[in-house]
Amino acid sequence: MTLTMRIGLIGAGGIARAHLPGWLELGARVSVYTVDGSAEKLAAEYAGREVAAVSSLDELLADCTAVDICTPTPTHKELALAAVAAGRHVICEKPLALNASDAEEIAAAAEAAGVRLHPAHVVRYFPAYEAMQQAVERGDLGDLAVLRFTRGGARPQWAPWFGDPAKSGGVIMDLMVHDIDIARWIAGDVVRVHAQTRGVEHTTGGTEAEVVSATAVLTHASGVISHITGLWGLPDQQFRTTFRIAGGDGLLRHDSTSVPGYRITAQGVRAANEGIPSSPMTESPYLTELREFAASWEDGGGEPRVSARDGIEAVRIAEAAVESSRTGRAIGVRTGIQEVTR
């Protein structure tokens, strides 16, 4: 890349903080915009680096290669459409939107404008998931049959909007969408979804811990079946993800807490739970992800492993799961089929 890559980062919360070091590692100059003044605070933390706060969206859009949207889900569409209108590539935190129709609209606008849209399904870049997917793709497990995924941790308290399903979509749309994407990545399109949610979906902000948990069963077009569970749990719930992938020729299992490579076993006080998982053992998956996205902006830079279509379909499945959970019915979905009309 001949010119310095310039990234317009929108948001200064957990994901923005996970992306920003990645962008700097890639040699980008980053401008940060937020609506609440937190951009200045984030930029101040990176004093002396190529990070600057800007005071308006227009200013951000005026001078960047790509826009990285790390804001609450309901704001994604408006910001993404503005970035696309300015001719910028878009990286958008998952879920792309709270419903498939909005996600389709963003993707259609990006396609019409000739810019890239990258839904940030970062779990595809976590090394254990990547290794598993490659084994599946090589055929090491034979025909897949039944898959299980779990994902859980303490309820996100750092940003109250997660506790409002109207904004986050709830535990299915915000958390389980990761594993919905992974299930579809390795087992293909989904035709039917059944899900149930229990506990306190909408936080009341009281002093009592409020747990919410959901279970979803996906039926893939191939006949493969997937079980996905999600948990926003008690304050001391350690963040943990697991998978178990069974096929005719073998089995793969993973538990993120059983193979950390490095762990602190005592430090005198109970540590606060981390919001964004990190590991000293391997490159940050966020960096891997952003590098792959940025490479695709250059001719011959390759296709990222996650496409705009993948982001849309993950939302479509999650949306069906939310509907199933609300109605108690199994919901038929058709993923991977481009909607012809709008």
Binding site: L144, A145, G199, T215, V217, H227, A330
Partner: protein
């Protein structure tokens, strides 16, 4: 105390015979006259009893003529009913291998026969005797875990057809993995939830692992909603590799409002590797759940107070399975009958 094991069709028969023959004060015989379902190479009948050093009765009538105090029925799932009815006719208490039956009507008839004869009908669900389950139950019963929100269970094993072919014969087994494995966790929840009852079941199955080899479903995911507000999803798949040195396992995660609990009924093993056998080495040191179950059946509950599952409970779990099959066929949740 005299105990007869009727039929060696089920893979658990050998274990029961071994355990019973070393229990002080217990006399055991086996009888396995009906071996038509056996594939070539499956050792059954007198030869099987001789391998285990257990006395053998040529016919079931001969076994009952011996005057057993209790019998254990280990026939194929679809053939439990005649043997349970035979036990009832002889006024002998019976422990029936799970699932209780393959059809709800058969299960109801078995309960009625035992009730009319005044004999006890118990169903062989050993996992409720796991100390890990006892701890889960204590945490829930005491209220420490709060209200149970969701449960995830997995009872995965290797497809048992190499030991006993009939397990994947829908006629004799009533199905495949869904019939074989759903009931263990369904029984734990039947006990854990007390008076709560299952409302509906959503199940999806496939046979992608053993297509062309067996006709039955070999993978299944079963979601059960209960009238106490809890929901459980059970992975009943035969998805444990057949060449693995262990048979499989049973795991349960219970998410309550005030605690998250996890149990693994069979994870207590020392693990290693055998250079001599060129495979993994596993030395289980946990409680023998079958032994605890047999003791409770023969002598009443032990220290933990856990009772053997009764026929009513066995029928309730069978109804979950029946609804599961109806759901897998229709693709929609089905009310539990």
């Amino acid at each position: 105390m005299k105990v007869a094991v009727l039929s060696f069709a089920h893979v658990h028969a050998a274990g029961y015979l071994r355990l019973l023959s070393r229990m002080p004060g217990v006399e055991v015989i086996g009888s396995d006259p009906d071996t038509g379902s056996a594939a070539p190479g499956e050792v059954r009948g007198r030869a099987f009893a001789e391998e285990l050093g257990v006395a053998y009765a040529q016919t079931y009538e001969e076994a009952f003529a011996w005057g057993p105090d209790a019998v254990i029925v280990c026939s194929e799932n679809a053939r439990h009913r005649p043997l349970v009815e035979l036990a009832a006719a002889h006024g002998v208490d019976v422990l029936c291998e799970k699932p209780l039956a393959t059809e709800v009507a058969d299960g109801e008839a078995m309960l009625a026969a035992c009730r009319a004869a005044g004999v006890r009908l118990a169903v062989a669900f050993p996992v409720r005797f796991s100390p890990a389950y006892a701890a889960v139950k204590a945490a829930v019963a005491s209220g420490d875990a709060g209200r149970v929100l969701t449960v995830s269970g997995a009872n995965n094993g290797a497809m048992p057809t190499r030991a006993r072919r009939w397990f994947a014969d829908p006629e004799l087994a009533g199905g495949g993995a869904l019939m074989d494995h759903t009931v263990h966790i369904a029984d734990l929840l039947d006990d854990l939830f007390g008076d709560a009852r299952p409302v509906d079941v959503y199940a999806q199955t496939n046979n992608r692992m053993y297509e062309g080899e067996v006709d039955a479903e070999t993978s299944g995911l079963v979601t059960v909603t209960y009238d106490n507000g809890s929901v459980a999803t059970i992975d009943c798949s035969w998805s444990h590799p057949r060449s693995h040195h262990s048979w499989g396992g049973l795991e349960l995660t219970v998410i309550g409002e005030r605690a998250t609990l996890e149990m693994d009924a069979f994870d207590q093993s020392v693990h290693g590797y055998s250079e001599r056998n060129r495979q993994g080495l596993e030395l289980p040191f946990g409680a023998d759940l079958d032994e605890r179950m047999l003791r409770a059946f023969l002598h009443g509950p032990g220290e933990g107070g856990m009772e053997v599952a009764d026929g009513e409970g066995g029928l309730r779990t069978l109804k979950i399975v029946a609804a599961g099959y109806a759901s897998a066929r229709s693709g929609v949740p089905v009310a539990v009958g």
